[in-house]
């Protein structure tokens, strides 16, 4: 599997895929996409990088343990639900605001943070499983 071509192209492929996954995540509310799919794309990106260049470079690049990312995601998703408490609406009710940043109207919502949470949970869980499996391969 670890041919020169694959090893050389893998980092570029991975970065492109991660970038794409963020794009898919952000467009999700109006176009096909969303946190779940985005997370799967990013996870397969890291899996490819791991297969091509070994697990430790991936772990270094991620900096955090993938499971920690997953935990952060779950925390973020739950937290985004609690924002509704301050407005006297039920848990997880979506709240929207549209501030103008540099002349562009940006739609921000608690739902977006919820989706980002989903993204992190999926990336974290799938990546940690894949990396753990790749690691033991060479034992």
């Amino acid at each position: 599997m670890r041919t020169v071509i694959f090893r050389t192209s893998a980092p570029y492929l991975t970065s492109l895929m991660v970038l794409f996954s963020v794009f898919v995540l952000l467009r999700g509310h109006n176009e096909p996409g969303g946190g779940f799919i985005g997370g799967l794309i990013a996870a397969s990106a890291f899996a490819i990088y791991g297969i091509a260049c070994g697990v430790s470079p991936v772990r270094r690049a991620l900096y955090f343990h993938p499971m920690a990312l997953s935990g952060f995601g779950l925390f973020l998703a739950a937290l985004s639900g609690f924002a509704s408490l301050f407005f006297g609406v039920p848990f997880l009710t979506g709240l929207w605001t549209s501030p103008e940043i540099l002349g562009v109207t940006v739609d921000l919502s608690t739902v977006l943070f919820f989706d980002i949470g989903v993204y992190f949970v999926v990336v974290g869980s799938v990546t940690s499983i894949a990396l753990a499996l790749e690691e033991r391969e060479r034992l």
Partner: protein
């Protein structure tokens, strides 16, 4: 009721929990002197409740609350009458002294902060329990006392005896708690009431209900386990593994009285029936006799006291069950008296243990000069426990005898029980209070001397309260005894008894008790030997029965696990898929709902091509020579299906399908390389035939199910709703995503939690390393 006072009561209910949070930090800063600060919380609560005494003595009740789950008619509500208020005062008053005492007793203990935290948590739970109005709050606080008691008994968690005692207490009282919950639900169904105040006001509704006996048995299951009634008494002596402040507070003065509280609280609604007036006195009386007899046999100060606590709880249950006004008065007076003298004696026992290094009564003696203040407190408490004037215990015992005094055969029986029990209790009281202090000085592991004020302040105060309240009996009765007795009986009662003895049957019985007690005290060593011999002859007790039950449970569950969990992947898979096939086929065949076979559809050529790819992929899976090829071929089939989704206009679904297929091929391939399987498949033919049959049944089942579903009329109200409102309400045009993150956000939250937990579990499984048997006994690395 003014809202200011309402929020103050709420504040008081929350205060112990706040103090529990602050305790570790305060203790880190102030060491054991944090006790002085932390004791302010219960002291404040005591003052607040004491301020309500006048209102309650005038016959009013204090109540309040907030809506909790309005749709179920559940409120967080409280309700203070004479009974609740007396308990609340005991809990906060003794709690103040216990916090101080703990500071002295556990001085320099590395986990003192944690201890304070636990004990304050318990205080909050217990206080909530006795002022709760709604059934649900009552139950929640009830369980919370069980849990905090577990934490406190197991405080010294490095010793196995502590851990065992903690688990035993949790199992027994926890099971009782479940019984109580069921009982309260039955009461709810029977009467439609969700609050105690409503139940008490409902009069005879409960007594005349068809569910009365069921509710009674379940509720008493909770009360008897909590209050250590025979045969559930065994956990309480074992709970003496806890540090002494815990024994003094939870396991004599407050928590174990929760069961008695419940019985007293329910007396107006449940009492007066034949069942009530038989079950309670019989269990209570048995507990009284068993408790005192077992106490005689002990030599450990704390264990002696623990068994007399069991006995005292027996008296209380017995009197409440008898139910006459006099009996209720006796129970009320005895409950207060017992909390005062037993709390004192436990703290005295702890002080002796702390200063001399032992609490074995046969190894103690002559401490009166070394510990005069402790001796004074012990003596005052023992006189009260023995029922001698002018102490509160005397009032209680006179009232008990006045209630019994041989009215008829039934009461006569319990009079005898009470005389014997009280006499034995007097013996134990004096044994604990006199033996260690009188006689020649005995050498102890530590050179004993008087402890610091933190150690003697608590016991001395409690003992003096027992004396002063008896001397000022009119005031005590007006503010405490009469309102409490009225609340228990359900009608107005005025308690009048005072410390001045007058010639009557009760007094004669008292004298008889004292004479009997002194006689037994004289022959205590012989009595102890006789009891020890008797118990050795019986051999088996509920304590051992508990161990046998737990062992039996473990063996049974181990056996069941061995049958269900064979440990062979093939068996799991086959069983799972057979179950799936049955679930698919059974409804369709039983209800005759097989789908009509569809006609051959007219599809464009590219759709046929995609289907052909899927079929070819499947064929490749079946005919693949090695496993890796099969896995990759499975991916071909999956991609073809994703393509179909795309063609049929479900981009989201197809997108996800692509990713899932890719990742599952990658992960399956990785897992396969790790399993070190033979590269190709070597199943015997019969196994293959079975697998083919199961796979075919599942596949055809799903196919028929989908056919049937598509042949049913389609209800599009949901998709119409989402299409209409997706953008209007949730500002999103991608309906799938809007459903996931907004309309059904809570579902998604649950799902991602599952994803994460599953990930953690898989990670743990991958990391499991089976020790190699060839490694020669070394741990596998």
């Amino acid at each position: 009721m003014a809202s200011g006072s309402q929020s103050l009561t709420f504040f008081v209910l929350v205060l112990p929990f706040v103090a529990a949070l602050a305790a570790p930090f305060l203790t880190r800063a102030l060491k054991h002197n944090a006790a002085w600060v932390l004791a302010l919380a219960p002291a404040f609560i005591f003052v607040h409740f004491a301020g309500l005494l006048g209102t309650v003595a005038d016959g009013a009740t204090v109540s309040g609350g907030y809506a909790w789950i309005p749709s179920l008619d559940v409120r967080f509500s409280w309700f203070l009458d004479g009974l609740s208020l007396t308990f609340a005062l005991l809990i906060s008053g003794i709690g103040t002294l216990i916090v101080l005492y703990s500071g002295g007793y556990l001085k320099d203990h590395p986990q003192l902060g944690r201890f304070f935290s636990f004990i304050l948590l318990f205080m909050g739970a217990m206080q909530g329990l006795v002022v709760s109005d709604s059934f649900l709050t009552l139950f929640v606080f009830w369980e919370l006392t069980s849990i905090t008691s577990f934490l406190l008994i197991g405080f010294d968690h490095r010793r196995e005896a502590s851990r065992r005692a903690a688990i035993q207490a949790l199992v027994v009282t926890g099971l009782g708690g479940l019984s109580l919950l069921a009982g309260l639900l039955v009461v709810w169904i029977a009467t439609g009431e969700t609050e105690l105040s409503g139940l008490l006001a409902a009069g005879d509704t409960m007594r005349h209900s068809a569910l009365y006996l069921v509710a009674l048995v379940l509720v008493l299951g909770g009360a008897f386990t909590k209050s250590a009634q025979f045969p559930f008494h065994f956990w309480l002596p074992n709970a003496m593994e806890a540090p002494t402040p815990v024994s003094a507070y939870l396991h004599s003065a407050t928590m174990v009285k929760a069961g008695v509280y419940l019985v007293m609280r329910l007396n107006p609604a449940f009492g007066g029936t034949d069942a009530w007036e038989t079950v309670l006195p019989v269990f209570g009386g048995t507990t009284l006799i068993v408790g005192t007899l077992l106490a005689i046999r002990q030599t450990d100060l704390k264990l002696m006291l623990a068994y007399t606590t069991v006995a005292s709880l027996g008296i209380l249950v017995m009197l409440t069950g008898l139910g006459s006004d006099k009996a209720v008065e006796g129970a009320v007076l005895y409950l207060v008296a017992h909390s005062l003298f037993k709390g004192t004696l436990f703290m005295v026992a702890g002080a002796i243990d702390h200063e001399s290094g032992t609490r074995d009564i046969t190894a103690l003696g002559g401490l009166r000069r070394a510990m005069p203040v402790t001796f004074a407190a012990a003596l005052l408490a023992a006189l009260s426990m023995g029922g001698l004037p002018p102490f509160f215990g005397f009032l209680a015992k006179e009232e008990i005898y006045a209630a019994l005094q041989f009215q008829d055969g039934w009461h006569g029986l319990f009079t005898l029980v009470a005389i014997l029990g009280n006499a034995l209790m007097l013996v134990i009281g004096f044994a604990v209070a006199l033996k260690p202090f009188l006689g020649p000085r005995v050498a102890t592991p530590k050179e004993a001397h008087e402890g610091p004020p933190l150690l003697w302040l608590g016991p001395l105060t409690l003992a003096l309260v027992g004396l002063v309240s008896a001397l000022l009996s009119e005031t005590a009765h007006h503010f405490v005894s009469s309102p409490m007795a009225s609340a228990v009986a359900g009608n107005d009662i005025a308690v009048h008894i005072s410390v001045i003895p007058y010639i009557s049957v009760p007094l004669a019985l008292s004298v008889l008790t004292v004479i009997l007690g002194i006689a037994i005290y004289w022959f205590l060593d012989q009595a102890r030997a006789a009891m020890a011999a008797l118990l050795a002859a019986i051999g088996w007790g509920p304590d051992r029965g508990f161990d046998q039950t737990i062992r039996g449970l473990l063996r049974a569950s181990f056996g069941v696990t061995r049958i269900i969990q064979s440990g062979r992947m093939e068996v799991y898979m086959t069983v799972t898929f057979i179950a799936i096939a049955l679930a698919l086929w059974a409804p369709m065949t039983v209800f005759g709902e097989m789908p009509d076979l569809p006609e051959m559809p007219d599809l464009p050529f590219y759709e046929w091509t995609v289907i052909a790819i899927a079929v070819i992929g499947l064929g490749a899976v079946v005919y693949a020579r090695d496993r890796l090829t099969a896995i990759v071929s499975l991916g071909i089939q999956g991609f073809a299906v994703a393509l179909l989704f795309m063609l049929l206009g479900a981009p989201d679904l197809s997108f996800t399908q692509f990713m899932v297929e890719t990742l599952s091929v990658v992960i399956l391939a990785l897992a396969m390389t790790r399993l070190r399987l033979h590269p190709s498949d070597h199943r015997p033919t019969n196994e293959k035939l079975l697998d083919i049959a199961v796979a075919g049944a599942c596949g055809a089942g799903f196919g028929f199910l989908i056919l049937k579903v598509t042949q049913m009329p389609f209800d599009d109200s949901l998709s119409a709703f989402f299409k209409t409102y997706s953008y209007v309400i949730a500002h999103g045009r991608n309906v799938v995503n809007v459903i996931l993150v907004d309309f059904r956000g809570l579902d998604t939250l649950g799902e991602i939690a599952v994803v994460m937990v599953a990930g953690l579990a898989i990670l743990a499984l991958i990391r499991v390393r089976v020790p190699k048997p060839a490694a020669g006994g070394k741990e596998g690395g």
